[in-house]
Amino acid sequence: MADLHITRVVTPRDPAHTTMIMRDMPELPVDDPAIRLAGLSKRFAAGGPAGGTLALADVSLEVRSGEIFGIVGRSGAGKSTLVRTVNLLERPDAGVVTVLGQDLLGLDEPALRAARRGIGMVFQHFNLHHRRTVAENIAFPLEIAGLSRAERAARVAELLPLVGLEAKRDAYPAQLSGGQKQRVGIARALASRPRLLLCDEATSALDPETTAEILALIRDLRDRLQLTVLLITHEMAVVKSICDRVAVMEAGRVIEQGPVLEVFTRPQQPTTRRFVAEVIGHGVPAGTLARLPAPRPGEERRLVQVLFLGPHSTRAVISEASREFGIDLDIASGRIDSIAGEPFGVMALAAYGPAEALEAAFAWMRGLGLVIEEIAA
């Protein structure tokens, strides 16, 4: 991970930018979240694998229907425990779990089993039955629910094309690639037409290319089936590519949450910043730093990371800034990417000029909606 030393600079909010974020959010009543977790705590017994640690410490979270909500954190942050409380595979010691309007902790066993049928779950290691074919794996939840053989066959016939596995219906899991196995996992999770899909590190066992494929499939299915998706991951890149909102977890707590674009461009917590830096972080390569010229007498050299979103043209900004403020801007590194479907660019700039001119230039750039953070050289 790039070891960035970022000095936080207060950035004014650009109103145009805010509307851009809002446009992407589905229009939904906020009082009807698909998942509402409130005050969840969970401590694992001492002597267990987690040895008396607090896995969840007063976690509250709301997932709106129709959105893809990501929970990101390092291993041991509690995210796995958290996602498991949503279908009560893990029972919290305290708190409220409301899923699709139902208070799960108040349900008895049969009612809980019925509620679980309305919540699909996809796993990191796929968890397929080795001795069942693809079709038989997908039919399993329907078998559990007591559907007839004919009904199961009809539903499986609908699901196979949905995940692109028509040709593999009679194959066994051992004959499939990782991506194909996860497609089976997804089809199985969707078999009983759930409105909610939980993804527990669904792409962590896959290579980058397959990860992209599976994420695209999940997003596509969300759109077509109006699903709500809660996914947990340790990879910020996953959040970047498909999530609408994200929560960052550390030591059993949610330390930051918000729309993905917001969290990426204005991370508040050090952990969040490190996560964001993994994806968009852009230190100055050591060699480049050494080769940067020293500032002339009476001038300063400042290193900044510039993050720009949407329609800004880098070149125009850079050339205009040097012209208007009489400073020199040297691009040490940079690249263009996209977050939650919005294009964004990140650059490391070496800026030369009188201190006031530099400050004025940075202020002007911020006025355009660019996020500027100083990098300690």
Binding site: R116, I119, M121, F123, N127, H129, F140, I144, P173
Partner: protein, 220 residues
């Protein structure tokens, strides 16, 4: 081949039949009792579906006790029980009782190991789908463990062929007994050799059949 008189042929055939009956019937009984026992041990174990230490520990102790008693001692120690079940303490039928008992304890442990090999993730997935405990046992645990269960039965069959040789001590007959009485006590090495040869072929056959079934069923 002067030793292979018609009478000798009859004796060999009869002994072979007795071995098959003792091994076959006690295996069927051991599977019938051992599988539920293993499921109970597995499900009530520390990582099971419903951990019940107060049931699991004593059950494990009983199984271990039965397994650690040498078969020849177990056979005579449970004579009253044998008499109760089989109506007699002598003969092939009577030998089946201790054989089945020893094999049940043996198989229960082997089955439990096979069940433990089932990917806990598959069980968790079934729970997440709303499967009940009995559905998890019948539709996940047993089917997923089937190759391991078959392998365990194969091991038990082979061990039972060996155990059944001791059944002569209570008049159970069988190939092992024939080998001792004719081959050893009457100095007929040919009988001993044929008995051993037949047993080797029997064990090889059982093992190959078991391996073939496991391969066919596992889909790994």
């Amino acid at each position: 081949m002067s030793w292979l008189t018609p009478m000798m042929q009859d004796l060999l055939l009869e002994a072979f039949g007795q071995t098959l009956v003792m091994v076959g019937v006690s295996t069927v009984l051991a599977v019938a009792f051992g599988l539920p026992l293993a499921l109970l041990l597995h499900v009530t174990g520390p990582d099971g579906l419903t951990p019940r230490p107060w049931l699991n520990r004593p059950l494990g102790l009983v199984v271990n006790a039965a397994r650690s008693t040498p078969f020849i001692i177990l056979m005579v120690a449970i004579v009253p029980f044998t008499r109760l079940v089989a109506g007699t303490s002598i003969g092939t039928g009577a030998a089946i009782v201790p054989l089945a008992l020893a094999a049940t304890a043996f198989l229960a442990r082997l089955f439990e190991n096979a069940l433990r090999e089932v990917d806990p993730g598959v069980v968790e997935a079934a729970q997440a789908m709303g499967a009940s405990r009995s559905q998890i046992v019948l539709k996940v645990l047993v089917p997923e463990a089937l190759p391991g269960l078959i392998a365990a039965v194969t091991v038990a069959l082979v061990s039972l062929v060996g155990f059944s040789a001791m059944a002569g001590a209570i008049g159970g007959g069988g190939l092992g007994d024939l080998g001792i009485r004719f081959g050893y006590q009457r100095f007929m090495p040919e009988v001993m050799a044929s008995v051993v040869l037949i047993l080797i072929l029997l064990v090889q056959g059982l093992q190959s059949l078991g391996d073939w079934l496991v391969r066919r069923l596992s889909h790994r």
